[in-house]
């Protein structure tokens, strides 16, 4: 048992590095030519992306009949993937906004990266409802604008709420991310030797001068943005859950869906951030900034949110029985013991059982094990959306229309393509922008703040 001294605050950045070293460490991937591994990784994700693009082109050419979606299960893979990717995005905003409001300093090392993941995940997610319409180039019809048809969108439709929620979420996350990047662009601009880079950085830095008269407003705006992003991130997955829960389908219509979806989103998002961070800190030698303590805290949050998700599963089951409503009871028995029981038990074991290993401190601090558990959590959370979407639809009130949903190869190709898109963007991001916020990390290095706070 190693003794922890609770009288001292744990330093967020290990070893008190000089500020200039932080610059160099973070900016190094931007200044050096990409190595072989980079191109290998990029070509793998690029081919995945290409596969997805080809499958999509084929779907558009032939029509959505090439997917597995059938008559009762009209929401197949596209919606499952949509909910999964939106969920992945939530961890980023949680880390950057909610933990900011809670003044958790350990967030600084991972916030920028997680925000980037949010943006890429929301972009990936946004693809799916649009392709699910079958003719994505007509997606503009989803927006309320005065038109010749004299029609308006139905503001009561949760699908319209989705349009508003996801596009607002993307915009605000992007603004949040960019606002955080401005000072770093300023630093990049002043460091770079290349002329072209300098022009680019100057344009994006907007001529930032690190002025304290600006910092004052900047911090205020950051607080305001965090204050707005926090309810926003809750609302997004809440609205995604409304897609299901405002219906009257057993297994979809249950009041716990909003907080349950949010907890699930945070759960899967943290797992994904964990996975990617473990790789990134290894490749770019960020061990001092993304410390083991940070990873351990992430694991604790994974454990906590995993238990919340488990609570929701249990509550759904209990209340389904308690309600005495026959279709409700059937829906849940069908989930656990029906034709999709394999998916259900993958979900339960990955989401509820495996994260329990994080009760053990050694496992929380063992990188290889936490990586595996995080992967399992992502698998489990994907299956959670699959279970919710497919089991309820495939066996609804009308037994005559029951059918088994089987995804096709095209569905699989598009799913792989979505991972390709996400990771391609992520890999390009690591080489083009500082993946750790330079100015924020500097502010939390030991000795960065004046020692005499009292005035």
């Amino acid at each position: 048992m190693s003794a922890i001294d609770y009288t001292q605050e744990l330093s967020v950045v290990e070893g008190k590095p000089p500020l200039r070293e932080i610059d160099e460490l973070i900016i190094q991937p931007l200044d050096t030519k990409p190595d072989k591994n980079f191109f290998i990784a990029l070509s793998i994700t690029g081919s995945m992306l290409l596969l997805g693009a080809l499958m999509l082109a084929w779907s558009f050419y032939k029509g959505t009949g090439v997917w597995g979606n059938n008559n009762p299960v009209a929401w197949g893979f596209p919606i499952v993937n949509f909910v999964f990717w939106v969920g992945i995005g939530h961890a980023g905003t949680l880390i950057s906004a909610i933990l900011f409001l809670f003044r958790q300093k350990w967030r600084t090392g991972i916030a920028r990266f997680a925000e980037g993941m949010t943006i890429f995940a929301v972009m990936t997610a946004g693809v799916f409802p649009i392709i699910h319409t079958g003719r994505p180039w007509l997606a503009g019809y989803l927006l309320p604008y005065p038109n010749q048809h004299d029609l308006w969108v139905n503001f009561h439709s949760p699908l319209v709420w989705d349009v508003f929620a996801v596009s607002t979420y993307f915009t605000v996350s992007f603004v949040f991310w960019y606002v955080g990047l401005i000072p770093d662009f300023g630093t990049l601009r002043d460091r770079t030797a290349s002329k072209i880079k300098k022009v680019i950085y100057s344009v994006f830095s907007l001529g930032w001068r690190h002025s304290n008269r600006h910092w004052q407003h900047y911090e205020m705006v950051y607080l305001v943005l965090a204050g707005f992003a926090t309810p926003l991130v809750l609302s997004v997955h809440t609205i995604v859950s409304f897609d299901f829960a405002v219906s009257i389908l057993p297994g979809w219509h249950t009041t716990i869906f909003p907080p349950y979806f949010v907890a699930g989103a945070v759960f899967s998002g943290f797992a994904m951030v964990q996975n990617v961070l473990i790789i990134i800190r290894k490749i770019f030698h960020f061990e001092h900034i993304i410390t083991l303590d940070t990873l351990e805290r992430m694991n604790k949050i994974i454990l906590l949110t995993g238990m919340m998700v488990g609570y929701a599963y249990a509550m759904e089951f209990f209340i389904a029985w308690y309600s005495g409503v026959q279709p409700e009871q059937f829906a849940f028995l069908n989930r656990a013991f029906g034709p999709y029981m394999w998916a259900y038990w993958i979900m339960v074991s990955c989401n509820v059982i495996f994260p329990q290993f994080f009760w053990i401190k050694k496992i929380r601090r063992k990188i290889s094990v936490m990586f595996i558990i995080a992967v399992l959590v992502n698998v489990g959370m994907w299956f959670e959306r699959f279970v919710i979407t497919v089991t309820s639809l495939s066996r609804d009130y009308l037994p005559s229309s029951w059918a088994y949903y089987k995804p096709t190869l095209v569905d699989g190709g598009i799913l792989i393509g979505s991972f390709g898109l996400f990771f391609t963007l992520l890999i390009l991001f690591t080489k083009s922008l500082p993946v750790i916020s330079i100015s924020e990390v500097k502010a939390v290095v030991d000795g960065a703040q004046p020692s005499h706070g009292e005035h």
């Binding site: 500020l19 610059d23 050419y61 029509g63 180039w137 004299d150 029609l151 308006w152 969108v153 139905n154 503001f155 009561h156 319209v160 709420w161 508003f164 929620a165 607002t168 915009t171 605000v172 603004v175 949040f176 606002v179 000072p183 630093t187 601009r189 002043d190 460091r191 100057s202 830095s205 907007l206 001529g207 930032w208 001068r209 690190h210 002025s211 304290n212 008269r213 600006h214 910092w215 004052q216 407003h217 900047y218 911090e219 205020m220 705006v221 305001v224 943005l225 707005f228 992003a229 309810p231 926003l232 609302s235 609205i239 100015s439 500097k442 960065a448 004046p450 005499h452 706070g453 005035h455």
Partner: protein, 379 residues
């Protein structure tokens, strides 16, 4: 060097404590046009510089409420005024259902517009022409030094005083900052050929893309509004079948729903004997017969069957339906005429169903009876 215009006098410090002291002192001395530049926000600096609290919170409040108001107006106008629809049995303006949209628009407007206000109005960015740019001072403060500068325009500006002040606070580098030459002689570059060529290029590319999209792309698969589909349109040829027709004949003996074949073509006498009116003379059947008679028969035969055509000689007048010949015909015989036509009268098979034809026959019988009533009808 000396011909350059000086902008400010600057000092660089090594530690956050030094810069806080320096800033406090500079403020105390009564300087106004000075600023502190640090690689990250230093806590306590706002107090040291005695800056009044940021007003951006109010800006966010204003934009947030505007966004919410916009959402209320949008939802109310579209779903109550312009396009009211009953959805899910809810009233037109069912408030809870609009809360999500209202919330999202509030956040969108507050977040985006507050940031825009800060950058564009509070900071007057983008501005890459500030004299601080590209100075050693800037390069130092954007990395690991803490800088402070006092502008020459400050009322209390005095080089010697400032220098000694900076030295007192442990400043590591003290140097003046000059305006850049291009900053002093700013030229208008709108009419440079490069800029104009760029504009022309943008115009060509935009219009070309628009033309291509609207006139070509929208007629290609899959953008062509589903005009091309994997199916056979009626009348189309199709080589899979031996006869080359896309349409197939139904199996021999197939009868379409509601279309019994008429067995007495060219056989009026047989029809007269074999066909019997299946309809009872009820009020509904008479009403149906009258309706159909008035639509299809009356233009030539007249409303009362007297052959008083309304066609004004554009079509030959038929004889009266009250003639003895017609009165003596059986129902089947009249039915046959309606079905097949007679002389110049065409067939009404396509216009009238079987039931309607019999109803019409009933009505004709009623018309005949009305002019030639029998004694027994009075009873």
């Amino acid at each position: 060097m000396s011909d350059k215009t000086i902008f400010a006098y600057s000092a660089l410090f090594d530690s956050p404590d030094d810069i806080i002291h320096a800033a406090e002192e500079v403020k105390k001395q009564g300087f106004e046009k000075y600023d502190v530049n640090t690689p990250y926000p230093v806590h306590g600096m706002d107090d040291a510089m005695k800056l009044s609290p940021s007003k951006l919170g109010y800006v966010a409040l204003f934009f947030g409420l505007s966004g919410m108001l916009a959402a209320i107006i949008l939802t109310y106008f579209t779903s109550v005024v312009d396009y009211p629809q009953v959805i899910g049995g809810k009233p037109f303006y069912a408030f809870p259902g609009y809360v999500p949209v209202m919330f999202e628009l509030t956040v969108l407007s507050a977040a985006v517009l507050t940031v825009a206000t800060m950058l564009l109005i509070f900071f007057k960015l983008p501005n890459n022409r500030h004299p601080l740019h590209d100075t050693n001072y800037m390069k130092a403060v954007s990395s690991d030094k803490y800088g402070l500068y006092i502008e020459i325009e400050d009322e209390k500006y005095d080089e010697a005083v400032i220098k000694s002040l900076f030295e007192r606070f442990n400043a590591k580098v003290i140097e003046p900052i000059y305006y850049d030459d291009t900053e002093v002689e700013h030229k208008n570059r709108i009419f440079e050929p490069k800029f104009i060529i760029g504009l022309v290029l943008i115009a060509v590319i935009t219009s070309g893309t628009t033309y291509f999209t609207l006139n070509k792309l929208m007629f290609m698969i899959p953008f062509s509004w589903m005009m091309d589909q994997d199916k056979i349109v009626p009348q189309e040829s199709y080589e899979l079948f031996a006869d080359g027709f896309g349409m197939r004949n139904p199996v021999e003996g197939t009868i379409a729903r509601g279309q019994l074949p008429y067995e007495y073509y060219q056989k009026p006498e047989e029809a007269a004997v074999a066909l019997i009116n299946p309809l009872f003379p009820t009020a509904e059947n008479f009403a149906l017969g009258k309706k159909k008679y008035d639509i299809y028969c009356s233009p030539c035969h007249g409303y009362h069957g007297e052959g008083d055509s309304r066609m004004r000689g554009q079509f030959p007048n038929p004889p009266s339906l009250h003639s003895e010949k017609v009165r003596d015909w059986t129902d089947g015989r009249i039915y046959h005429v309606i079905t097949e036509g007679q002389n110049v009268m065409p067939s009404y098979s396509t216009q009238l169903s079987r039931e309607e034809k019999w109803a019409t026959v009933l009505y004709i019988r009623a018309l005949q009876r009305s002019l030639n009533a029998k004694e027994s009808d009075l009873e």
